[in-house]
Symmetry: C2
Subunit: 344 residues, 2 copies
DNA sequence: CTGAAAGCGCTAACAA
DNA sequence: TTGTTAGCGCTTTCAG
């Protein structure tokens, strides 16, 4: 079962050459119907499975794709990875997952490692620390397939999949405004990330639309994306200690949203009485929270699927791909009690 | 960068033979210090990386391990996978993850697929449907390395890693009893799984200790492990509709615990007023729930690490491994308000 | 100390 | 229609 038959074993058993066996197995037409039938039957009988390693060596393709994300224990990314695997598996690719933990150095090391493993392509979501994308540019220039998703590198010319961050952010902020909140803070990931800037834009635009001035003190960046708990706690405490402290926070990152819930609970701050909350997250249990959490949800599974399909298409393209597209998908605003204005 | 240098390129560039290069790179002693230095320096300069595929073909080892779990979007398993990857990565193995979705057929297909990928060993947690473990027995008899974790096959002679399910279950049940609950139901996964039986034993033993008779109507099995939402809802509704309906439920599975919270919320049943709750889960946000959830938590990350270490040790053992061990780790009972008896 | 050659499993160009 | 052979990148005898 695990010491599988080789093409050679079959050839010997049947008294033909290995190439004949290969041809039969690959459905080549330059082979006798008789021989073919014989070989296929025998192969079936002994449960022949081609050795993927030998194939890889021959074809110079590993049939694997590398994935670079900040971490897997994150609802958004675990769902995206699910989508990635669902496509990859069906197309005969396996995926190697690496985590950056929001560090640029680890990101580079991971890319190197994946390259040395001869992955056929890369699915990348940048770390919060990354500003230098030259390693990707170098690879892309050489024709190596890379698809970015979620945390994309705007300046690189390749396929990208991203959610409509602007609108997701705008909608959530507008909801808070319509509820009657006036002092809305924005807690978000590093400004290095395009998604942070897009989400801030959506936030700011909603404020503008309703004539609410933006206070720069209400904008807090967690440059480690919530990997360091103290950083988040510090930011939130700063907000709470302001002269005119905010009555609502809109949070622009999955991990930060969950961290904030933990911290506010620890500080005994009531949501939404003391401060209202809404944030990006793909948690499936947000409705169970106390209070139920208003969230902006991304179609993470689908994003993973789309990115993987684009990548495999690029990998298997006979011609060098020149025209790249950026797919944008919509987010979903799920309104629950954490964003509710209580009339006292 | 991604079209890497081969040993042949180096040999040609330096005017030596490929075997000499190989020897230098592998630190063989039968080589001149001069030549060695030259080769190593050049290899360093061009950033030589051995082709892992060629190595695999040569060594008949893929340096990858296969993982079989019911699903990754599950707090326990995603944490275990984290542990698995942390060890595997350091030891130069990569992991291929497959999901059974609690189906025996998919489990078999996954094992076949992983075998055809020539994984060096298997890390398995059985599906809820599995009763026939003969495929594993066959492989083990042939000396193929397999380590079971969490949902183990008791009768197979190999390494295993498991939590102290009996004690975890006993402690949680005892807590409920001490709180004053008398009619405690037990909702759990398929009886096929040893962990279900162990957890039931812990539950039953606690009941016995306090002289509480066990009512068979209070025991509900979800044979699909919560993959089918209706099954869980049906079981809970049955409990609630009983003449003497339970005042507390102790749940024996991560997924069922989360599902139950969703269902009770939907049915507008208050916890713990109407019914108290405690259950196995590795969710990191259980304290944020409404109400905060009392949980039995397993050291999933550590379990993943231990299983992987045992597997790699078996894979790399020079001698056929004959003595197998079963590691047992302790669970942790985290007491929160969902299990609290409110005195009215 | 170093080189030539075989072989891991498979495909494909070339011969027959 | 089938067989022979070379080669993918690497290690490892076996000669020299």
């Amino acid at each position: 079962m695990f010491e599988s038959y080789t093409i050679k074993d079959i050839a010997k058993a049947l008294g033909v050459s290995t190439s004949t066996v290969s041809r039969a197995l690959n459905g080549s037409y330059e082979i006798g119907a008789e021989t073919k039938k014989l070989i296929l039957e025998y192969a079936e009988k002994v449960n022949y499975r081609p050795n993927p390693i030998a194939l890889s060596l021959k074809e110079q393709k590993s049939h694997s794709i590398g994935v670079v994300v900040c971490e897997v224990a994150n609802d958004y990314f675990s769902q995206a990875i699910n989508g990635i695997e669902s496509i990859a598996y069906n197309r005969g690719y396996h995926v190697i997952i690496t985590q950056t933990h929001e560090s640029f150095d680890r990101e580079s090391a991971n890319v190197q490692h994946l390259l040395s493993r001869h992955v056929d392509g890369l699915l990348v979501s940048l770390s919060a620390e990354t500003t230098d994308t030259s390693q990707y540019k170098y690879l892309l220039d050489k024709g190596f397939p890379i698809v970015f998703f979620d945390r994309i590198a705007a300046d690189l010319n390749t396929h990208k999949v991203i959610a409509n961050n602007f609108k997701g952010s705008f909608d959530a902020t507008e909801l808070l405004i319509k509820q009657g909140f006036k002092n809305i803070a924005h807690l978000t990931n590093s400004n290095n990330l395009l998604i942070s800037r897009e989400r801030f834009d959506g936030f700011k635009t909603a404020l503008d639309k309703y004539g609410i001035g933006f206070k720069s003190g209400y904008l807090k960046h967690c440059n480690h994306g919530g990997m360091i708990q103290d950083e988040v706690e510090f930011a939130i405490k700063e907000l709470l200690a302001m002269d005119e402290s905010p009555d609502a926070i809109f949070i622009g990152s999955d991990r930060l949203t969950i961290s904030s819930m933990h911290i506010l609970k620890k500080l005994n701050i009531n949501i939404p009485e003391d401060i209202a909350l809404a944030g990006f997250t793909n948690s499936d249990v947000a409705e169970l929270f106390s209070p139920a959490l208003t969230v902006v949800r991304q179609p993470a599974f689908q994003i993973g699927q789309m990115a993987t399909e684009m990548l495999i298409k690029t990998i298997e393209s006979k011609w060098p791909v020149e025209k790249f597209i950026t797919e944008q998908v919509e987010t979903e605003l799920i309104i629950r009690s954490s964003s509710q204005k209580l009339h006292q």
